[in-house]
């Protein structure tokens, strides 16, 4: 139990641990970026297969769904048995959590391209590769980025849990605080991980906006009289 006299947060601890906080931030961001990046590459490949061979979509999302439902601690624990402590089991676990979110979003993004747009592109003489790159991808990108946003925010939360197997990040503060019945690092770790999630979320929202200038056409001042 925590002593009643202990304050929730001791600012002098925070002041003394700036270097630690910075290091944990770097670790947290690294783990997140690495997991989401690998997850995205794997998902892109799986999505390409699912888009090409429609029948594969069911099985792919089923497997990704099963991975998604395994409790994070249990999955990381099992992987530690095979890969030992450290980043490897954590990254594998985190990647497996991103798959369902990313595959669904990428497939939905391309499915969302209006059939008339696709037909017009083919009818005007686009080659398949050029059509995908210059017409379908730009239209799908905002939805794909929305998927990356959800995946990143989810992973930022999960990285905190991963500290239990010694992978660093903000979770290390929480782990430390829990072991010593010392609330300050717990609060610092929690607050920073929420803050990071919010910052990343906003970043992706801005990116979505920038990638789809045409969607801002709803501005009534630019509306043209119909004819």
């Amino acid at each position: 139990m925590i002593a009643a006299s202990e304050p929730l947060i001791r600012w002098d601890w925070v002041r003394d641990h700036f270097d630690d906080i910075w290091q944990r931030t770097v670790e947290h961001v690294q783990l997140t970026v690495l997991s989401v990046a690998i997850g995205f590459v794997v998902s892109a490949l799986l999505s390409a297969i699912a888009l090409r061979y429609r029948r594969a979509y069911g099985p792919i999302t089923w497997v990704a769904g099963v991975l998604y439902t395994i409790p994070s601690l249990a999955l990381i624990g099992t992987l530690v048995v095979y890969f030992g402590f450290g980043n490897t089991p954590v990254v594998i676990a985190l990647v497996s959590y991103t798959l369902l979110i990313l595959v669904r979003n990428i497939v939905a993004a391309f499915d969302g391209v209006p059939p008339a747009v696709r037909e017009a592109a083919i009818g005007m003489g686009y080659t398949p590769a050029r059509r995908v790159l210059q017409v379908e991808l730009p239209l799908a990108l905002p939805v794909i980025v929305a998927g990356l946003r959800i995946a990143s925010v989810t992973v930022i939360g999960l990285v905190t849990v991963a500290a239990l197997v010694g992978s660093g990040g903000y979770g290390a503060f929480i782990d430390d605080g829990l072991n010593r019945f010392f609330p300050t690092p717990i609060i610092v770790g929690t607050t920073l991980s929420v803050l990071l999630a919010v910052v990343v979320d906003v970043m992706f929202v801005v990116m979505e906006r920038l990638l789809s200038p045409w969607r801002r056409g709803s501005n009534p001042l630019r509306k043209v009289a119909t004819s």
């Binding site: 209006p114 005007m124 789809s212 630019r222």
Partner: protein, 380 residues
């Protein structure tokens, strides 16, 4: 199957025994279709749903590959070059327009030029040119498609199809998603545009009136993708080749033909006309001779107005006609008025005839047109 070779001019598109059967289906969607489309003509493909008209259109630019027969485009087999290269030479307009939402109007119009490797500046210039050609405000060039109305989007769709100046334009029910008023305007614009650009246009529609209005020739397809008749609209309406065609054209065939003919196509009748220099008595005599309850009053063949017989009879017979007050004639048409509209003027006029006005100032009385004249026009 008769092959109706288009009159005069080179053939732009030639279909020979073209068939399409989908795998797993015994029935052909299009069955041994053969006909020629002359360069510079608008050919409307029309027929009930399931007649394969859209399939036929899409086989021309190979969006659908035929399972039998050959299609020649501008004298070469369409398979002699890769499908995407063929398509860049054929403009394509579809019902849902399919503009690229992520590109501005300028970008959308320039798409095919881009594919053909034009320089950026040339593309921008061409886009500006086309926006005006299809009657849009150049201000719209920097807008995105979502900012435009349906009618404006469809005009951009036509501009995009014309951008690389392809000799052929395929249009797949382009106007069926817009409201009737806009549709009529777009149809007029297409005809105007065709005057300027003279493309070979293949136009799919399910609307007989649209086919008749736009087509230099109309190909009526029947169930199972067979050609029921291929003829100029007037010939089609006057002389349907089969029960099917006549049923498809509908009960108002005669009226539809009237909209194709104009007042200039019929013989005009004489009517009760007097010169303003005549006396009232002469005017009365003219009216009675014609069995009319009124007379039209002209000044050197220029129509000045009309007077009813009753008014004339209340005046002194020797009085000059100029002393009687003239009324403005409302039931008049011009030589270019479609007969269908002239008929409307005639049946709503009290005297059952319409004055035909022409000349430089549009006030010279050329004669009169009656219901009999209109009916005579249909026999011609």
């Amino acid at each position: 199957m008769s092959i109706d070779v288009a009159a005069g001019g080179p053939v732009a598109i030639s279909l020979r025994k073209v068939s399409k059967t989908y795998p797993g289906s015994a029935d052909a969607v299009v069955n041994e279709l053969s006909f020629d489309i002359a360069a510079g003509e608008i050919v409307a493909l029309v027929g009930p749903s399931g007649c394969g008209k859209t399939t036929t259109l899409k086989m021309i630019n190979r969006l659908i590959e035929p399972t039998g027969g050959t299609i020649e485009v501008l004298g070469v087999d369409q398979n002699s070059l890769p499908a995407h290269e063929l398509r860049r030479k054929i403009g394509y307009v579809i019902q849902q327009v399919g503009l690229f939402p992520h590109r501005t109007i300028r970008g959308n119009i320039g798409v095919v030029c881009e594919l053909l490797g034009w320089e950026k500046r040339a593309i921008a210039e061409r886009a500006a040119e086309l926006v005006e050609l299809v009657g849009l405000d150049p201000m719209l060039l920097d807008r995105y498609p979502s900012e435009l109305s349906g009618g404006q989007q469809q005009r951009v769709g036509v501009a995009r199809a014309l951008a690389a100046d392809p000799p052929i334009l395929l249009m797949d029910e382009p106007y069926s998603a817009v409201d009737p008023i806009v549709r009529e305007r777009l149809q007029d614009e297409l005809l105007d545009l065709q005057h300027k650009v003279r493309k070979t246009i293949v136009f799919v529609t399910h609307d007989v009136d649209e086919a008749i209005r736009l087509g230099d020739r109309v190909a009526i397809l029947g169930a199972g993708g067979v050609l029921a008749q291929y003829a100029a609209p007037d010939d089609l309406l006057r002389d349907p080749a089969s029960e099917f065609v006549s049923a498809f054209l509908g009960r108002e065939r005669g009226l539809r033909r009237l909209s194709l003919l104009s007042v200039a196509d019929v013989e005009l009748s004489d009517g009760p006309t007097v010169d303003i220099a005549s006396s009232v008595g002469q005017a009365v005599a003219t009216a009675e001779r014609c069995g009319s309850a009124w007379v039209a009053v002209c000044d050197q063949h220029r129509l000045r107005g009309w007077i009813s017989l009753a008014t004339l009879k209340s005046a002194a017979p020797e009085a000059p006609l100029a002393s009687v007050e003239l009324l403005r004639l409302r039931s008049w048409v011009t030589p270019s008025t479609p007969l269908r509209q002239a008929l409307d003027v005639i049946v709503t006029s009290r005297s059952r005839l319409a004055a035909v006005l022409g000349g430089n100032d549009g006030d010279t009385l050329l004669g009169f047109v009656t219901i009999d004249d209109v009916a005579g026009g249909l026999e011609a």
